[in-house]
């Protein structure tokens, strides 16, 4: 079983190949360049350097959201194109799950957070146990304050912050939420390796989709809208 996984959902971009659970290769860049310029050369190199042909790949995995509007579209469109041509199934992975699956080396809670701007974050919580990640919440958008209040119910456990919202939350949670641990830089952001690991889970659960069915996943940010309406009412 060979999985090609990619991530372009936020600022970094990565590609990885997993063969029978073994990481064959991974490519990660975190620069300001556009993913549309870096992703395909990365995929091409990783395949040619590892001696794997596009037709050898059994499952194509992508972080289908949440994330940046353009980033998610680049990733989803690329995988749609490849799987349409290869007639192979897709694994639509949650970017937040990919973060959790990228780091189940310890026990504790993973708080995967992406900065959705306007003091809002995309978040999901997972429990790491015995090398696997169990989902505790759905992917959702909420305010940093709401998240900080919710995390109090995990007092006594270590809470690992991952994602591009990690630093923002770390600063906000200081002195409020106990047990917060910042993950080290090499595993802080979503990686295609985590995407591939999460895809293995989708394969086990028979939850792959076709090229046609693969869609970007955008989360609504209800509070940002509520605040706008409240301000509008104040001024009128």
């Amino acid at each position: 079983m060979i999985i090609l996984a990619i991530d372009t959902s936020a600022s970094p971009v990565s590609a990885a190949v997993l063969r029978d659970g073994c990481l064959v290769g991974e490519f990660f860049l975190n620069t300001k360049t556009t993913h549309s310029q870096t992703l395909m050369p990365m995929v091409e190199s990783i395949l040619s350097l590892s001696g794997i042909g596009l037709s050898d790949i059994d499952v194509f995995a992508v972080n289908a959201g949440p994330g940046s509007f353009t980033g998610v579209r680049i990733g989803v469109a690329s995988i749609k194109g490849m799987t349409l041509a290869q007639e192979k199934p897709c694994a639509a992975v949650s970017t937040l799950a990919a973060m959790a699956y990228g780091l189940p080396y310890t026990n504790g809670i993973v708080c995967a957070v992406m900065d959705a701007r306007c003091s809002q974050v995309y978040n999901a919580l997972f429990r790491l146990k015995n090398g696997s990640a169990e989902r505790l919440t759905e992917d959702r958008a909420l305010s940093i304050e709401e998240l900080s209040a919710e995390l109090l119910s995990y007092a006594g456990e270590e809470i690992y912050l991952a994602g591009d919202g990690a630093e923002l939350c770390f600063q906000n949670f200081a002195g409020k939420v106990p047990g917060i641990v910042m993950t080290p830089m090499n595993i802080r952001y979503q990686h295609a390796y985590g995407t591939a690991r999460a895809a293995e889970r989708l394969i086990e659960e028979n939850r792959l989709c076709s090229s046609d069915e693969l869609m970007p996943v955008y989360l609504r940010v209800p509070q940002a809208e509520r605040e706008r309406l409240a301000r509008q009412q104040q001024t009128t």
Partner: protein, 140 residues
């Protein structure tokens, strides 16, 4: 806050050109002011101040125009943008921290703009005169 008076379109452009000299490359400049007050003229001056020689036109239809100069300049028009979802789907948040962003019709999306920004408010005084208020930056 700086309050300046411009007596011509050309002078509005010159003021903007001077504002461009104070930029570090990742600012958001939120523009306020109604139709025809000179927001696009102001942006044209900013672009010239950043060494951009391409003609600057209003991005009402394209939503955003990109220009390459001393820094990247992203020129947004939020005239038809009214909600967080609309704003998100313009890719607005993806541009943040990657260049200078000039945002016309900031009135429509003000709650979604970061607090750390430059506000430029242009008010019509008479046919040729404009009061230009600048907050968050000081031009020399």
């Amino acid at each position: 806050m700086q309050k300046l008076l411009s007596t011509s379109e050309q002078q509005t452009e010159e003021l903007a050109e001077r504002l461009a000299q104070t930029l570090k490359g990742n600012e958001i400049i939120a523009m306020f002011g109604g139709m025809g007050v000179g927001k696009t003229a102001f942006t044209r001056g900013l672009a010239r101040g950043l060494g951009i020689t391409d003609g600057v036109a209003s991005p009402t239809f394209a939503l955003v125009h990109e220009y390459e100069g001393k820094y990247m300049l992203y020129h947004f028009d939020m005239y038809r943008i009214n909600s967080y979802d609309d704003l998100y789907s313009t890719g607005f948040f993806d541009y943040q921290d990657n260049g200078v962003m000039v945002v016309e019709w900031s009135e429509n999306i003000e709650p979604f703009l970061p607090k750390d920004r430059i506000n430029v408010t242009i008010r019509r005084v008479s046919d040729n005169e404009r009061e230009i208020m600048i907050e968050g930056a000081e031009i020399q």
